[in-house]
Symmetry: C2
Subunit: 420 residues, 2 copies
């Protein structure tokens, strides 16, 4: 009997974990990603803020599976999925028939229907996004140094981060650190410590998924770093170098969107139910209703788990979902009498906690009902992120960069590339 | 009395050394570079061959001079130089008058009048060049993995490096290592160890500036690494994916030009004598004939030193020239009675030796009449390159990458970015 063919879309946390879990499974797995690397998304903001080099948070997908012979990696882009005919169409390589499908394509920056803002306020989802933001913010200081008009100079030294979730908080904190400390004595005509960094959030507080105490700590800490935090401040419109918030208009050279994500457009063409963000609504076993051989895992899945709670769009959830889908499929494959599926295990998200870092030696964390802030939370953050970083080389490289940044207040990746 | 204004063009080895040397000089120095970073050119081939990340061999120029108050860094591009009116015109910032000028703009990839080849055979002079080459060669293997036509697959897995100088030797060795070792078990449909790497050189041997014994060693070593070395093979023409050498045509996806450099075009508009490569012919004190207040240093200068020998286009020479120009100008400034220059010291190049690495634990070196090859030369190469790398952070980061590459045969920066 031919081995079942499993097609996995996306080499993010869910897809990678899925494949790893099936190491000994008698199946042919094809993992498709349009990038050649798995990206450690939680540290992407550090590449954007010149703390780390791009290769330090990325790992070649092929290299992860170089010794796992049942995984075949294909660098290509999915153009459409035909669930009824069990076929995936890809941009360059024609189409692939599957016995099982695992969709782990993740989410992309979403503008809540205002896609015209993308041009003025880029998001942060890929390494190219990150190097673009880094180039833009470093180059803004270079332009400010040369500017003769005071107002223009102020505008060039103003950044607005939209969205008070973990990414927004982390970016705003890092930008403040760059301006107040890292670049402090580098310029002769401007005082970078007067740079303005705004963090704007539509909700009444930052980090809404955390306890209010931690939100308050975060706001206080960011303010002390020099960030102007604006809550209850929904964005009305964004245009070239301008953000409109109710009655206030902020002129800024750097505008970064960290306020929302949405599923890639192809989920809307699957003929299955999606949530308003385009996420695929899955059954309790993570399969797509009506298609027991097709699964959605990670951020692209809208899942209510066994406990009745919505599974959050976080790395640990993606990892757990990838592992769960693998176990379900492995049980199917090993079940005698192909064609009828055994009773499947339902997914249950195990919440180990969540954390966000604010700046040098400050973070917030919540785990098992306990709340942490300050230095201890930062140490936890550091330890966990190093631990989960893929590849020994990356762990060591990142540790050294952080140690260096900590003692010297330096950011080594302040290099402007790709100016064209 | 106003301090003299010294304008320095280019933040390469010569320009940086010049400014450092004038740390205590009562002068206002403006250092102009179109990049925000000083680049450690000798290791650029390692970024191109996925061994190092771009920020690891670059250092922000501002950060080098953050504490040296007499240096003002300007990120801009020089559009023209008016030697008679002592003025430099820059692209964005208008023009700058100077009392002293130091031109250290370096050289760019040169095609000996065949500029149409640039499109098909990019050179390696900047970080953007390096990431472009890296992206292209890694992506070629991805395309080969999907190719169904055998001939096309072979073409995709073929690289031609043109030019048997140190850069060509280093690139060819690194590409061979990637194909034979690093990527070996990453692919399922192709055997990367069958990839073909050609190194072609018009002269009768590689590394013509070295002793013939070392050239022979290099050729033997490269051949054992799997490189096809072709000497006496001048390139007739280059077109899309094709290199024509006399009666042979090599079809290759990756064609890299490391065969020549030339001075930037603006040297031809200075109204002073240049050599066929556009380098400015300087006097023995490194000043430009007829313009005692203007100097050319580094690769852009054509200099016959006090010993009557042509100064080579190497980093140590650039550093020594930068330092020499600084001493001459400092003596001028400190000389009583401005307007008439004191008798100037003539430049003498001190040849400490030169070296090129071939691959893992093999290199060639020549110093003070002694010749080294193999592991000992490689250790010397490693030690000296680490020593001269700018910035403590970079030294440590690079050391770790090399250690990792050495023990694990891995190249950590195998990340394809900038696909657009």
């Amino acid at each position: 009997m031919a081995k079942p063919h499993i097609v996995v879309l996306g080499g993010g946390f869910a897809g990678i974990e899925f494949c790893k879990e099936l190491e000994d499974c008698p199946a042919d797995i094809t993992l498709i990603d349009r990038q050649n690397h798995h990206l450690f998304q939680p540290l992407l903001y550090q590449v954007a803020s010149a703390g780390l080099a791009a290769p330090e948070i990325a790992h070649p997908i092929r290299s992860i599976f170089s010794k796992q012979q049942n995984v075949d990696v294909l660098m290509d882009e999915v153009s459409s999925i035909d669930l009824d005919n069990k076929t995936v169409h890809i941009k360059e390589g024609g189409s692939l028939a599957y016995d099982y499908l695992v969709i782990g394509l993740g989410v992309k920056t979403g503008y809540f229907g205002n896609d015209q803002w993308a041009k003025y306020a880029p998001g942060l989802k890929s390494l190219d996004d990150a190097t673009k933001i880094r180039r833009h913010i470093l180059f803004a200081f270079e332009k400010a140094e040369k500017a003769t008009d005071t107002r223009e100079r102020d505008r060039l030294m103003t950044s607005v981060v939209i969205g008070g979730g973990p990414t927004g908080v982390e970016l705003a904190g890092a930008f403040a650190e760059i301006a107040r400390h890292v670049l402090k004595s580098d310029f002769r005509n401007i005082d970078t410590s007067t740079a303005k960094i705004y963090l704007v959030e539509a909700a009444p507080r930052l980090l809404t998924m955390y306890d209010e105490k931690l939100s308050n700590y975060t706001e206080k800490k960011l303010t002390s770093l020099g960030v102007t935090v604006k809550v209850n401040a929904p964005v009305q419109s964004i245009s070239e170098g301008k953000v409109e918030l109710g009655d206030e208009v902020i002129e800024a050279e750097n505008i970064i969107w960290a306020a929302g994500v949405e599923a890639p457009a192809l989920t809307r063409c699957l003929g299955v139910e999606t949530d308003p963000g385009g996420r695929i609504i899955v059954d309790g076993d993570l399969s797509i209703p009506g298609h027991p051989e097709a699964f959605a895992v990670g951020d692209i899945a809208h899942c209510i788990d066994q406990s009745g709670k919505r599974v959050p769009g976080l790395c640990p959830a993606a990892i757990q979902m990838g592992k769960h889908a693998a176990k379900v499929i492995e049980a199917d494959i090993n079940h005698p009498g192909s064609g009828n599926y055994p009773v499947r295990k339902q997914f249950r998200y195990f919440d180990k906690g969540s954390m966000a870092t604010i700046g040098r030696s400050a973070a917030v964390a919540e785990s098992a009902g306990m709340k942490f802030d300050g230095f201890i939370a930062w140490l936890m953050w550091l330890f966990i992120h190093l631990l989960f970083l893929v590849g020994f080389r990356n762990k060591i490289a990142v540790l050294i960069q952080w140690f260096y940044a900590y003692v010297r207040y330096r950011r080594g990746a302040r290099i402007i590339t790709g100016m064209g």
